[in-house]
C-alpha cells in the first residue's frame, strides 16, 4: 500500500545516488566525420515553436542528421531535469533550452557547457541578450531564442463600461507615464467598475524590478534584496494600493487561469509570450486587446536560450544545429507560430515580422507593437545572479501572503522575507 509515495521518496534518494555514480562515465566527443549518420536531440519546454516541419528542414540541408525534439511541460520541469543530468554527466539532449531566470545558476558551471562563440553568429542578438549568456571568461555559452518585451494587455469591454477609451492608440496615450500614473488611472477605473485593475501583485513586482539593474543581488553576487531601497520601495508602493487595484490572484494559480475569461481585472502586464496564454485560456472572450505602452518606459520579462552541454557526443554538430535554429529565418517562423518575440537583431525591424497581426486581440498588429516594446527595453539589463531565482521566489511569496492569502500584514511578511533570504545565504 501507498507504494507510490514510498517510491517517490526512494526515487529521490536513488536519483541522488545514481547521479553521483554516473558522474564518472561521461563520454568524450568522438572524432568528427562530417558524413557520419547521427541523430541530434533538442530539449525544449512550453512551446518554442519548433515544428516537426521546421526540424525536417534541417535534415534536408544535412541528410546525415536526424533531429528529435523532446518537450518538457514547464520551465521548472526542464530545470530540474537539466540540473540533475548536468551534475550526473550524462543523459542530456545535444541541444538544451534554458530560461533566463535560472540561467545564471547554470553559468557558474559553464565549463560543463560548450563554448558557442563563433564569428558567424557575432552580432546576431541584441547586446544585452548575448551579454547575459557570456561567462566570466568571455565564452558565449548559449544562443538566444526569444525575449519577453512587455506591453499592456487590456479588456476593452471593461474599459468602455468604466468610461475609459477603448482604442489601443488612445489607451497607449492614457497610460503613458510612470508606475504611479498607471496606479492613478487604476484608481479612477476601480472607482467606476467592479473589476480590479491588474491581475497579480507578483507580476507588477516582476515588471518593476526588471527595469532596474541591481535588485535582489549586487553585481558581485551578494544577496542585497533585504537592504536594497529599490526593492523595499517597490514592495511598499505595490502593497499600498493593492487592496483596491489587485484582483488578489496568485500568478499561475488555478484562480489566475480562470480569471482570464471571467473579467476579474482590466489590465495585465503582457510580455510577448503571454499573448499565447491569454488566447489559449480565454478563447471565447471578445474584449482582449493590447496597447503599445508600458509604465516607466520598457521592460523585458523572461526569454530563453539554447545551450550545448559538453557531455554530448556530437557537440560540434549540435553547435551548428543550435546556430541554425536561432538564425533569424527560423526564429521568425517560431514567432509566427507562438508569439515568442525573437531576440535577433535582424528581425527587430524586419517587414515580415512587423506585418504579423493577431485576430484574437482585435486584429492587433502584434509584430509592430512588440517590436516597439522591444526597442524600449532598457539597454542595461537587470543583473540576475546565482541566487536570483530562489530570492525572487521568496519575494513573490511575501507579496502573496499579504495580497492573496491575506494571512500577514505587509510589515510581518517583510520580516518573514528577510528570514527566508537569510536561509539562502
Amino acid at each position: 500500500m501507498k507504494i507510490s509515495r514510498r517510491t517517490t521518496a526512494i526515487a529521490i534518494a536513488g536519483a541522488t545516488a545514481f547521479a553521483l555514480v554516473a558522474t564518472g562515465c561521461s563520454s568524450t566527443p568522438s572524432g568528427t566525420d562530417p558524413n557520419e549518420k547521427i541523430t541530434l536531440t533538442v530539449a525544449t519546454f512550453n512551446d518554442f515553436g519548433y515544428s516537426d516541419e521546421l526540424l525536417a528542414e534541417y535534415t534536408e540541408l544535412h541528410p546525415n542528421i536526424t533531429v528529435k525534439q523532446t518537450k518538457a511541460k514547464t520551465s521548472d520541469d526542464a530545470r530540474a531535469n537539466y540540473f540533475t543530468k548536468l551534475g550526473a554527466g550524462s543523459g542530456l539532449a545535444d541541444v538544451e533550452a534554458v530560461e533566463i531566470d535560472w540561467f545564471a545558476e547554470l553559468l557558474q558551471y559553464s565549463d560543463k557547457l560548450t563554448d558557442l562563440s563563433s564569428p558567424d553568429v557575432e552580432g546576431r542578438w541584441l547586446e544585452w541578450k548575448s551579454n547575459a549568456a557570456t561567462d566570466a571568461d568571455g565564452r558565449l555559452i548559449a544562443y538566444g531564442t526569444d525575449i519577453g518585451p512587455q506591453a499592456i494587455c487590456y479588456r476593452s469591454d471593461l474599459f468602455e463600461a468604466a468610461g475609459l477609451p477603448t482604442d489601443r492608440a488612445e489607451v497607449a496615450t492614457l497610460l503613458t507615464g510612470d508606475w504611479d500614473h498607471y496606479f492613478d488611472i487604476g484608481q479612477q477605473f476601480v472607482a467606476k467598475s467592479d473589476a480590479a485593475w491588474y491581475d497579480s501583485v507578483g507580476s507588477i513586482m516582476q515588471g518593476k524590478l526588471n527595469q532596474e539593474v541591481e535588485t535582489l543581488e549586487s553585481t558581485d553576487g551578494e544577496i542585497i534584496a533585504g537592504d536594497n531601497p529599490v526593492v523595499a520601495a517597490a514592495y511598499n508602493d505595490i502593497l499600498a494600493q493593492s487592496p483596491e487595484l489587485s484582483a488578489h490572484l496568485g500568478q499561475w494559480s488555478e484562480d489566475w487561469y480562470a480569471a482570464f475569461s471571467n473579467g476579474a481585472y482590466a489590465t495585465m502586464l503582457c510580455p510577448s509570450w503571454m499573448l499565447g496564454i491569454i488566447e489559449g485560456e480565454a478563447p471565447e472572450v471578445d474584449g482582449w486587446d493590447i496597447a503599445d505602452v508600458y509604465p516607466n518606459g520598457g521592460g523585458n520579462w523572461g526569454g530563453s536560450y539554447l545551450t550545448v552541454p559538453a557531455q554530448g557526443a556530437h557537440a560540434e554538430a549540435a553547435k551548428e544545429f543550435a546556430a541554425w535554429l536561432t538564425a533569424p529565418e527560423q526564429q521568425l517562423k517560431a514567432f509566427i507560430k507562438t508569439g515568442n518575440f525573437p531576440s535577433q537583431v535582424a528581425l527587430q525591424d524586419s517587414e515580415e515580422l512587423l506585418a504579423v497581426t493577431r485576430p484574437f486581440f482585435n486584429d492587433a498588429p502584434v509584430g509592430e507593437i512588440m517590436a516597439g516594446r522591444a526597442a524600449a527595453v532598457p539597454a542595461a539589463a537587470p543583473f540576475k545572479g546565482v541566487k536570483y531565482f530562489p530570492v525572487m521566489k521568496a519575494l513573490q511569496d511575501s507579496l502573496t501572503r499579504v495580497d492573496v492569502d491575506k494571512t500577514q500584514s505587509a510589515k510581518d511578511s517583510w520580516a518573514q522575507f528577510l528570514k527566508d533570504i537569510d536561509a539562502l545565504k
Binding site: T8, D76, G87, Y109, S253, N262, K419
Partner: protein, 339 residues
Amino acid sequence: MTQSLERDVDVTPTTPGTPGPDKTEERAIRRIAFGHRLSHWDLKLSPYLYISPFFILFAITGLFPLVYTGVVSLYDWHIIGGQGDFVGLGNFEWVLGQEKFWIALRNTFSIFIFSAVPQVILALIIAAILDQNLKAKTFWRMGVLVPYIVAPVAVALIFSNMFGDQYGLINNMLGRIGLDPVGWHSQVVPSHLAIATMVNFRWTGYNALIFLAAMQAIPRDYYEAAAIDGASRIRQFFSITIPSLRPTLIFVIITSTIGGLQIFDEPRMYDSTGEGGASAQWMTITMYIYNQGFGASGGGQFGHAAAAAWLLFLVIVIVGLINLVATRAIASNESRSTK
C-alpha cells in the same frame, strides 16, 4: 542471476573445513566429490538463491541510496557541482535550525491525522456495509476501488480545481448557501483538510476492501450465536467484528502511517508551483527535501536535502517503534481476551 550463482559456487570451496592439505591432494578429492558437493550446495544454497533477487534489488534500490544519502548529508554537495567540503553534521544543524523544516514536520503530521483517522473509520463502515447481503456484490466492491486506480496526479488536478479560493466549485457552492468562502489555499487547516480529502478519496476504498476480506474470514457462527442471544447489529459490529479485525487494523494503521509520513504527490500537485504555499502552509517533509535538492527555491543543495531525508527516516523509525509498542499491547490484550 547466473552470475551470482557462479560466484557463490566459486567462493564456497575455500570456506573453512578444507584448508591445509597440499594442492594435488585437494584437487583429487575435489574431482571425486564434486558431484556430491554440487547436490549438497544445491540443497543448502538454493533457498537463499531463490529469495536473493528481492534482497539484491533491495540492496541496489533501497540500502545503497540510504547509505549514500547518509554520505551526501555529511558534505556540502551541489546538484551540478557535486561533492564539496566535508561539513560533518553541519547540514543537520542547518536543517534543524530552519523554521520551514519544523513547519513541514507539523504539516506532515497534521495531514496524516486528517487523512488516516477518517480513512480508517470510513473504510470500516464501508466494509461493514459491503459485508451485508447486497445485490450485485462485485459491482459495489469494484466500485469502491475505482478512485484507487485513478492516477494521483489526476486526482490532485481535479481537486485543486474544486478547492480554488476564488472560483473553485466548493467555495462557489458555499457562497450560494450564504456562507463565507474558505481559504483552501491560504489558510493552514483548510489546506490540510483539502489535501487529506484527496488522500482519503484514493485510499478509503482500498482499505475498505482489505477490511472486507478480513471480515469475511470471521466465522458466521459468532454472529448467529450473538443474534440468538439478542445482540443488535451494532452490538455485533463492536463486540465481534472489531475485535476480530485487530491484526488487519494494525496492518492498515502501520502502512498508512508510513505512507502518510511520506506524502508527496497530493500536496505537490495542490497548486501549480508545487512549493507548498507562500508561508509553507501545506509543505510536507518530502516536499521540503525535494525543494532543497531539486526545486526552484532550494538552489540544488543536496547536502541539505540528504540531511532532511535522514531526519525523515529517523522520524519514521521513531513512529514505527511507537506503533510496534502499541501493536504489542493490543496483541497481548487480544490473547488475554480470547482465553
